[in-house]
């Protein structure tokens, strides 16, 4: 494995519910190497998604350092964080979260609108990403015209279209039937092996976690397996 693409050091996260502190993560240390596929497991409320959000740069740690692709996230402004996410992070949600009024093509194109690519270049990238997930023939379909598995594959195409450093998946198979679940997991494995994408996947499902090269367990906001 290569050098760490993600370095989490002494990270804690505390939320406040009406001024009452609710600690979610405490003293997390975790390194994820380039091209590594890591599964984050743990019971509900253990802080898996919170950790994923901190790595994605959509939430900030209360203490500690989160370094991704060489950027120390707590030092970045909101604007810089947005640019960081656009450049380095591909996010896959449990509920796909496609924009319902856009076609599959337009959904995948969305992150590319933030780049200086021309329309022709964007088109090329989008078709390539849709081809990788096996949905090039569904580019004109809206999310409503797709099955859950297909929606998630479009969402994966959207996550990889900018060729990000890191793919973050929050229970990507949590809302899928068995067949679609297998397709999505196979796809993630392919992205990891063939395209050398580092992947961090939150999951409850041991079978899904088995696809990863390493599993990290969280319980009550603390890691219980060695990083």
């Amino acid at each position: 494995m290569g050098s760490p693409v993600v370095r989490v050091q002494g990270v804690s996260k505390t939320y406040y519910r009406d001024e009452t502190p609710v600690p979610v993560l405490e003293g997390i240390n975790l390194d994820i190497a380039e091209g590594e596929f890591v599964a984050l497991m743990g019971p509900s409320g253990s802080g898996k998604s919170t950790l994923l959000n901190l790595i994605a740069g959509i939430d900030r740690a209360s203490t500690g350092r989160v370094e991704v692709a060489g950027s120390e996230l707590s030092a970045l402004s909101e604007r810089e964080l947005a640019a960081f996410r656009s450049r380095h992070v591909g996010f896959i949600f449990q509920l796909y979260n496609l924009i319902p009024v856009l076609t599959a093509f337009e959904n995948v194109e969305l992150p590319l609108l933030l780049t200086p690519l021309s329309k022709a270049e964007r088109r090329k990238h989008v078709l390539m990403a849709l081809d990788v997930v096996g949905l090039a023939d569904r580019q004109d379909h809206t999310p409503r015209q797709l099955s859950g598995g297909q929606e998630q594959r479009v969402a994966i195409a959207r996550a990889i279209v900018t060729d990000p450093t890191l793919l973050l998946a929050d229970e990507p198979t949590g809302d899928l039937d068995k067949k679609s679940e297998e397709e999505v997991l196979t796809l993630l494995q392919r992205l990891n092996k063939e395209f050398k994408k580092a992947i961090v996947m939150v999951t409850h499902d041991p079978k899904a976690a088995a696809c990863a090269a390493r599993t990290v367990m969280l319980e009550k906001g603390a890691l219980i397996a060695k990083p």
């Binding site: 959000n53 994605a56 959509i58 939430d59 909101e78 604007r79 947005a82 640019a83 996410r85 656009s86 450049r87 992070v89 996010f91 949600f93 979260n97 924009i99 319902p100 009024v101 856009l102 337009e106 969305l110 992150p111 609108l113 933030l114 329309k119 959207r158």
Partner: protein, 384 residues
């Protein structure tokens, strides 16, 4: 530009809601354009009137009372002639042509005085000669000729409403002028009207031209003092005052127009704000997803405001299209008596567009800012 498809799709996300909002905006802007056009037409007459030194002598009780014919001698006499010229009897006939809906502004005048008094009306010497020679002659503005498809040489009959007679008039010529409103008018001879009225010598107003601006107050003093104790006390006013008085019969129209304009804007903003708030509420998660993809808060704000602007401007486009088509294209007027011409002016279009832009910006600002500022993690957690 690359965000335009996204903005367009989002604006049309809930078609029924968007169509209803669009229709509401279009209707309200149409009302705004309508009342503003009415106001600008009034101001246009006042504006035209202010450019001439024409003075109007009317009965102190107003336009419904009559003046004596003997006043003409005094007005043409030495005392007044030092301050004014071209004294012209001027009666608004107020009849219709064929149908009560066709109500062109018709005035009975004295041709020799009328020509220099209304020197902005351009007609040929031949027309003027025929106007003087033919008792039943009428001259008409070219817009009026076109409106009723009249031809020079044609005989037309006006049906009197408050004058109990129906003049049969021979159109002897047409006139042009810079102001399209005046091209909707027609003039015929006062002596012919008088003949039809059995020589009752009814004069509703006398018009004349002051020799200078300084002569106007002196004319008012002299004429009104002369008639003070007569059976027809007069009120001498400028043409501008006359125009304002005529329009004031419709009430304090400027205040009404201002009130309607403000009301239209407030209703429009509230209606669009409601739509935008609903749209924003439905898209909390989507906004959070877009920000996760790397969209900045400012970009989200701009996209949401642009959606609102797009809907508002489409509404403005519909309202302007209908207004221009109905008023400027088909030349329809809500009241041919008060508004022989009812034209939407460029400044009215600018105000309508300005109102649409204001509505688009103001109505979307609060929901857009709230969406853009919401924490991404909160947005992703939201179940809509």
């Amino acid at each position: 530009m690359k965000f335009l498809p996204l903005i367009w799709r989002n604006a049309l996300r809930n078609r029924l809601r968007t169509i209803l909002t669009l229709a509401g905006i279009a209707f309200l802007l149409f009302v705004l354009i309508f009342v503003m056009t009415g106001l600008s037409e009034i101001q246009a007459w006042e504006g035209v009137a202010a450019t001439h030194r024409r003075v109007v002598v009317q009965h102190a009780e107003g336009l419904t009372a009559e003046l004596g014919i003997e006043l003409e001698n005094f007005l043409k006499g030495d005392i007044i002639s030092r301050h004014a010229e071209y004294v012209c009897k001027f009666n608004w006939f107020g009849g219709y042509y064929q149908d009560p809906k066709n109500w062109p502004p018709e005035f009975a005048v004295d041709p020799p005085a009328m020509k220099p008094l209304f020197d902005e009306l351009k007609f040929s010497d031949d027309t003027y000669r025929k106007f003087c020679e033919t008792k039943t002659a009428a001259i008409c503005g070219i817009a009026l000729m076109k409106k009723y498809n009249w031809k020079v040489g044609q005989r037309i009959t006006l049906i009197g409403t408050f004058y109990p007679c129906n003049p049969e008039l021979d159109i002897v010529g047409e006139f042009t002028t810079k102001d399209p409103r005046q091209e909707e008018q027609m003039f015929f001879r006062w002596d012919y009207l008088d003949e039809l009225l059995q020589n009752k010598k009814i004069v509703s107003t006398y018009w004349m031209k002051a020799r200078s601006d300084e002569d106007i107050p002196r004319l008012k003093e002299l004429i009104d003092a002369h008639t003070k104790n007569s059976s027809y006390p007069t009120e001498t006013i400028t043409e501008k005052e006359f125009a304002a008085q005529f329009m004031s019969m419709m009430g304090n129209i400027k205040a009404i127009v201002g009130g309607i304009g403000a009301l239209v804007l407030v209703i429009m903003i509230m209606m669009t704000a409601n739509t935008m708030a609903m749209a924003a509420r439905e898209r909390v998660t989507e906004v959070a997803v877009m920000r996760t993809l790397g969209f900045r808060s400012g970009q989200i704000l701009a996209i949401m405001v642009s959606e609102s602007l797009l809907v508002s401007l489409l509404g403005a486009g519909i309202a302007l299209g209908v207004s221009l088509g109905v008023f400027n294209g088909l030349k329809l007027s809500p009241s041919p008596i008060y508004f022989p011409v009812f034209l939407v002016e460029p400044k009215t279009m600018v105000v309508a567009l300005g109102a649409a832009v204001t509505c688009g910006l103001v109505s979307s600002m609060v929901p857009a800012v709230r969406s853009a500022r919401r924490k991404i993690t909160d947005g992703l957690r939201q179940v809509v």
